[in-house]
Amino acid sequence: MTRLEILKTYKLFIGGQFPRTESGRYYTLKNIKGSTIANICLSSRKDVRNAVQAARKAFGGWSERTAFNRGQILYRIAEMLEGRRDQFIAELQLQGIVKSKAEKEVEIAIDRIVYYAGWCDKYNQVLSSVNPVSSSHFNFSVNEPTGVVGVFAPQNTSLIGLVSLVIPVISGGNSCVILASEVLPLCAITFAEVLHSSDLPGGVVNILTGKNKELADTFSSHMDINAIVYGGDDSTSLKMIKENATSNVKRVVVQQKDWMKPDSQDLYMISDTQELKTTWHPIENIGGSSSSY
């Protein structure tokens, strides 16, 4: 007697937990031959709001982690992904990607996480400045995370696009809510399992599956999302997102690159979701100011 395989139920990832969509809706993901791969959660506006709430709750703690600790946790994510390498390759193949390309995609994803893990305690050194003002003040500028970031993962990849956009966002201390690729959603949820087992605090990354057309409006007009990283290629949707973004002056970053290429990662993808803070403090200037100690 052959053993019956256990199929995975693909759910959402909100606040470190795996709930189903509160709406009870789903869409069916099929392979090229037309047979069902899985039922995917069709997230609702309420799911977006729940995810933003979880992200906001997690933001304070995550942004206050030491840079070194964030780097450790990101490196742990890479370790966990490496351990599940075969699972991701198989899942990519299930979604119609040829094996050699699937292997490459997973490898690039792992290496990219390691790349950004290393940036965690370095980007502020490169991007900050001490400013020689003309008055008796010590003045310096440092980067701080923008806050809660909404991420629209690229439609044409299941893993690498999502990883390429999300990892720089969290390496800089932001929390985020991701809308996964509608057509290739599987790896997003499996990646959530990787995050779940990586010491990443619950709520730092929240992942939803569903329809871009349905949810883009809620994402972009939500008053507690501070920035949008848009990796899609739908100019009509992007225009709407940018218009809605004005409600609370969201920063909208458009990222359209070939994510399989090595030069699609850099320091400036971190600074895209950073704010610069400048601090002034007087320097006491009484006595001794002209003596050479």
């Binding site: 400045s129 003045n139 501070n226 218009e243 609370n248 320091l267 610069l276 400048t278 403090h281």
Partner: protein, 486 residues
């Protein structure tokens, strides 16, 4: 509603008038648009009056540019970009910018007097702050023009093209400098629109730019109203919009640009917290409060308009603050003794008075010192509101006038929460003697500029700009370059 401060004998602070002379400045009767290195009449033939808010006298007529004029300016800027400016080595661009800085320094007194006449700000401020800072801004960015590859490691930098710049009326010349200097240093050409109430110093700057020999079309100044600005924002051949002004208009601009690939930076409103702890040097803090909210009549986007005082010293601070306010001189901005000049326009005075009424209606306790308000001109006495609720409108909305709300707090956590409880995030002030507390607060306050034991300080090397609804992008310093680079 005006209350005299209790018990304290107020010494007489009367000084003899000390008016800055206007004899060395010459204003034209009529100012045209500066496009393609020439002074041209507006297409519509229309002009509007610019008045001195201190006495309501007309100073000059200013050309009212429309979409056709803007188109002409953008074409000139594009041509100058393609044919001259984008091809010029950075070291040569630098020399033009240095030259502008020097010419401005030479004519600093003229700038200061005209700025005060046109905007109502005190001569002391325009002479000692606005004009020198504007000159220094050009001088600072001039030096960047041939060093840009050092600013952003491992990034191929490239200018954007034509930058459309729209500036506010609170620091007319300084904002023009903040916009023009970095854009030129990075190799862009410019179409700039000053605010309609304060065009004169931008036009004087155009004279200097002309005198400097800067190639025609590199900087174009188109004066006018909001529709003139809208024509710049909506022009198809503009690559970048830089705007400083209200959050309301900023949102409209962000929306108008949604369907385009134009780069945008926004420097918008604020409702900044100024926080006084019980271990702060109280007298210095009181000076900081005064400078935070009454500097430039409160027409400052980063004004410390929400004061938070630790409960146990609140009474003392308020009393000292009232005493200090009694000594503030309100009057003719050209008088070197004047601390508080004129409100920039009638429209703005109406807005401020509306908020003062709201504050009284909302039940807060108001205090204004006795001031000799001149018979003509737009003036508003420095105003305090005590016992203001967090939910009060005057504690939430930007007033852009000399109006301070005072709230109290007990713990650090409480004040961080209260200070961050605003859609804005431009600036904040912290007054305490304890270094570790300063760094705790400065890292937790969600704002772009934090002044610790000081307030309202500016410098060309120091990046300025906000979090959240106070906009995005930075002006000043190394980071200010990125607003004008690909």
């Amino acid at each position: 509603m005006v209350k005299k401060v209790s018990k304290i004998e107020v010494p007489s602070w009367d000084y003899s008038p000390s008016l800055e002379s206007t004899s060395h400045i010459v204003l034209k009767e009529k100012y045209d648009l500066y496009i393609d290195g020439r002074w041209v009449k507006p297409h519509s033939g229309k002009y509007f009056a610019t008045v001195n808010p201190a006495d309501e006298q007309k100073l000059a007529d200013i050309a009212y540019g429309n979409a056709l004029d803007v188109d002409k300016a953008v074409k000139a800027a594009r041509k100058a970009y393609n044919e001259v400016w984008s091809k010029m080595p950075g070291s040569e661009r630098a020399k033009y910018i240095y030259r502008i800085a020097r010419l401005m320094q030479e004519r600093a007194r003229e700038f200061a007097v005209i700025e005060t006449l046109d905007s109502g700000k005190t001569i002391r401020e325009s002479r000692d702050i606005d004009v020198p800072l504007a000159c220094n801004h050009f001088f600072y960015y001039a030096g960047w023009a041939d060093k840009l590859e050092y600013a952003f490691p491992n990034r191929k930098i490239q200018s954007l093209g034509v930058a459309g710049q729209i500036i506010p009326w609170n620091f007319p010349l300084l904002m023009a400098a903040w916009k023009i200097a970095p854009a030129l240093a990075t190799g862009n050409t410019i179409v700039l629109k000053p605010a309609e109430t304060t065009s004169l110093t931008a036009l004087l700057l155009a004279e200097i730019i002309d005198q400097s020999g800067l190639p025609p079309g590199v900087v174009n100044i188109v004066t006018g109203y909001g529709d003139t600005g809208a024509a710049i924002v909506n022009h198809a051949d503009v690559d970048k919009i830089a705007f400083t002004g209200s959050t309301g208009v900023g949102k409209l601009i962000q929306k108008a640009l949604a369907g385009t690939s134009k780069k945008v930076t926004l420097e918008l409103g604020g409702k900044s917290a100024n926080i006084i702890f019980d271990d702060a040097p109280i007298d210095q803090a009181v000076e900081g409060i005064v400078n935070g909210i009454f500097f430039n009549q409160g027409h400052v986007c980063c004004a410390g308009s929400r004061l938070f005082v630790q409960e146990n010293i609140a009474e003392r601070v308020v009393e000292k603050l009232k005493q200090r306010m009694e000594t503030l001189y309100l009057g003719n901005p050209l008088d070197k003794n004047t601390d508080i000049g004129a409100i920039n326009s009638k429209e703005q005075l109406v807005t401020i008075l509306k908020y003062i009424k709201i504050g009284q209606k909302e039940g807060a306790e108001m205090y204004q010192p006795v001031c000799n308000i001149p018979a003509k001109g737009y003036y508003c006495p420095p105003t305090l509101f005590i016992n203001v609720a967090q939910s009060s409108l005057i504690a939430q909305e930007e007033i852009f006038g000399p109006v301070l709300t005072i709230q109290t707090f007990r713990t650090v956590d409480e004040v961080i929460q209260k200070a961050n409880n605003t859609p804005f995030g431009l600036a904040a002030g912290v007054w305490t003697d304890k270094g570790s507390r300063i760094f705790n607060l400065t890292t937790k306050l969600r704002a772009g500029v934090i002044w610790a034991n000081t307030y309202n300080k500016f410098d060309p090397t120091s990046p300025f700009g906000g979090y959240k609804e106070s906009g995005f992008g930075r002006e000043g310093g190394l980071h200010g370059l990125s607003a004008y680079l690909k």
